[in-house]
Amino acid sequence: MKFHFFHLMPYQDIDPDFLEDNKSSWITLPNTYYDPKKGSKLYHRYLDELELADELGFDGVCVNEHHQTAYGMMPSPNVLAGALSRRLKKATIGVIGRALPIVDNPLVIAEEFAMIDNLTEGRFIAGFVRGIGCEYHASMTNPGFSHERFREAHDLIVRAWTEPGPFEFYGKHYHFQYVNLWPRPYQTPRPPIWIPSQGSTETVEFAAHPDRKYTYVITFSPIASVKKNLKAYRDQCEVYGYECPPDQLGWAMPCYVAETDEIARNEAAPHIESLFNRFIMSPAQYKLPPGYSSLNSYKAVMANKYAVRENYLTCDALIENGMFLCGSAATVAEKLEEYQKEMGFGNIAPMLQFGTLPAELTEKNLRIFAGEVMPKVRHLGVTKETVAAE
C-alpha cells in the first residue's frame, strides 16, 4: 500500500464564529476574514508538514484546488507543487486534482503539470476533476457544460502529452490551431492520472476504461459508500475484461492517530468537527448549481445527501460511519487492514491535517502514522509490478 499525505490547507486562523454572520464558507464569505500575515505563516507551516511527510517515508504528498473559500488556500495547487518540487527528496507530488472544465485554456494545465513532472523527474501524479459546484460560481463556468468540458479538456491534455506536436484540436469548447507542448512530460508516455470522485457511474466507466485505467480515488465518503464505489469500479474493470489491480484504487479520508483511541478522539474532535460543520459548509445551491449533474442525480443527491448534512456531524458520528479514520495506531492499522482486504485498494491519501488541527497535533499525527501505522499495512495491496518497479 502506498501512502500519500493529502493536505487541504484550510485557512484555520479564521474567526471561529464566521458562520454566525455568513451562510457559507465558500464564494460569498468576505475575504476580509483572510489575514495575509496569518495566511502566509499557514502556507509555510503546511508546506513544512508536507516536507516532513517526505522525511518520514510517505510515498507521496497531495494538494488540490478550491476557489474563494476558507476551506482551502489552494486556488492554484500548481504553485505549491512548484514550491515542493525542489524540496521533496523521494515523495511524489499529486495534484488531485485540477478542475479541468473551469479553465478556458486546458493547455495551461498540461504545460504546468509537465513542468512539475520535469522538475520532480517523474515523481508526479496528475489528478483530474470536474471541480465541486462552488467552483462554477467562482469561475462563472457554465455548469451545464461541465461534463462536456471535462471530457474535452481531458482529451486535449492527454493528447498534448502523448502525441507529437504540433497538431490541431477543434472541439466544441476548446479550439487550438497549434497544440505543441513544451516541455513534454518527463514520464513516458505520460504522468499517472488519478480521478478523485465521490462516486458516479459515468466517472467509473470513464476511469476504468482499458484505454485509460486511471486510479479511482474515493474522497469524503462514509465507509459503506467507499466500499460500494470501489466495488463498482472493480466490477467495471471486469466488464472491460481485466482484473483491477490495487494501484488503480484509492481512498482519501481524514485520519487521526494518537497514543490510545480515547486520546485520539479527544484530541481530534473539535478539529474534525470544524471541518465537517464549518469549513465545508455551504448551502445546496452553492454546491449543486443547475446543470452540474443530470436532473435525476440532482434530485437523488438533494433527497439523500443534503438531508443528512443538515445535522451537526459529531466526531463520534464521523468515526461511526467511517468518514473519519481515528484511533490508536493499532486500531487504525486494523481498520485499514480490514478495509484493504475487502476493497483491494493500493493507495490511501490520509488527510492528517484537517480543519483547525494545530501544528503540534498535526506533527504528532504524521509521526505516529508514519512510525506505527505504515509499517503494519505497507505490505498490503502490493502488486508484482509495483514490487518490480521498486
Binding site: 457544460f145 445546496a284 446543470g291
Partner: protein, 264 residues
Amino acid sequence: MADHSSNRMTVAGCEIEVLRGGSGPAMVFLHGAGGAHKWMPYMDRLAEHYTVYVPSHPGWGRSDTPDWLDGMGDLAYFYLEFLDAIGEDQVHLVGNSLGGWLALEVAVRSAARIETLTLVSAAGIHVAGVPKGDIFLWDDEERVRNTFFDQKMAEARIAATPTEEESDIALKNHFSTAKMAWHPRFYSRELQKWLHRIKVPTLILWGDSDKIFPPAYGEAMQKLIPGSALTIVPECGHLPQQEKLDDFIAGVTAFTAANSTGAA
C-alpha cells in the same frame, strides 16, 4: 376563463408545447426563466384581446430539450422558425425576463414577423455598476421573495405544495435557464451593440422594485432602442403580469392599439 388549448408542435426537429387561447390579433408571449406551462390569469386576460400563443421554450416545461440547445442564439433562430410556422403574418411579441431577452435576440435578427415588441423586465443587456440579483445563489425561498414586491404573494407561492410534475418542471426550467444565462450572466455580449436595429414600436415595462434586474436596466434598454417607451410600474417586482395584472393589461392593450397597422 377563456377557452384555451394545449398543442404539440414540431419546429426545427424539436417538439414543444404551445398554449393557445382567445381571438383577435396574434400575440406571442415568450416566458421567462420560470416557464409557462400552465394557463395563467394574465394569459386569460390577454386572450380577451388577442389570439395568444404561449410556447414553452425548448428545454422548458413539457417541451423537448434538443441536443442543439447551447445558448440564446439557438433559441432565437428557433423562434424565427416558429414565427414562420404558426401561420400568422405578424404578431405582437411580448417577452418577460429571459423571454424579453429572447424577444430582443429575435428582433435584432429579423423583425419581419413582429408588429410590436413589448419587453417586460427583460434580460439581455448589462448595465455597468448596477448589480443584478443572483437567482442561482438564492435558495428557493429567497428566489420567490425577491421576485415579488408584495410579500403576501411571495408567501402564498412559498406555501403552495407543487405536484411532482411541477417540481420536475421547475428543476428542468432552472437547468435550462442556467445553460442559457449562466455566463455572461443574463446577457449576450453582442446584443446591446445592435439593439438600434429594432425599428418596430417597442414598449418597455418594468417593476419599480425589481430585485433581479433593477429598473436602471429598463432605463438603459430604453436608451438603446430608438423610439421605445418605458413605463415603470409602481410597487411591483419582476413579474408585472402577475403582480400588477391590471396595469400590465392596460399598458399592453393601449400600446398595441396605438401601434397596430392591421385591424385590432
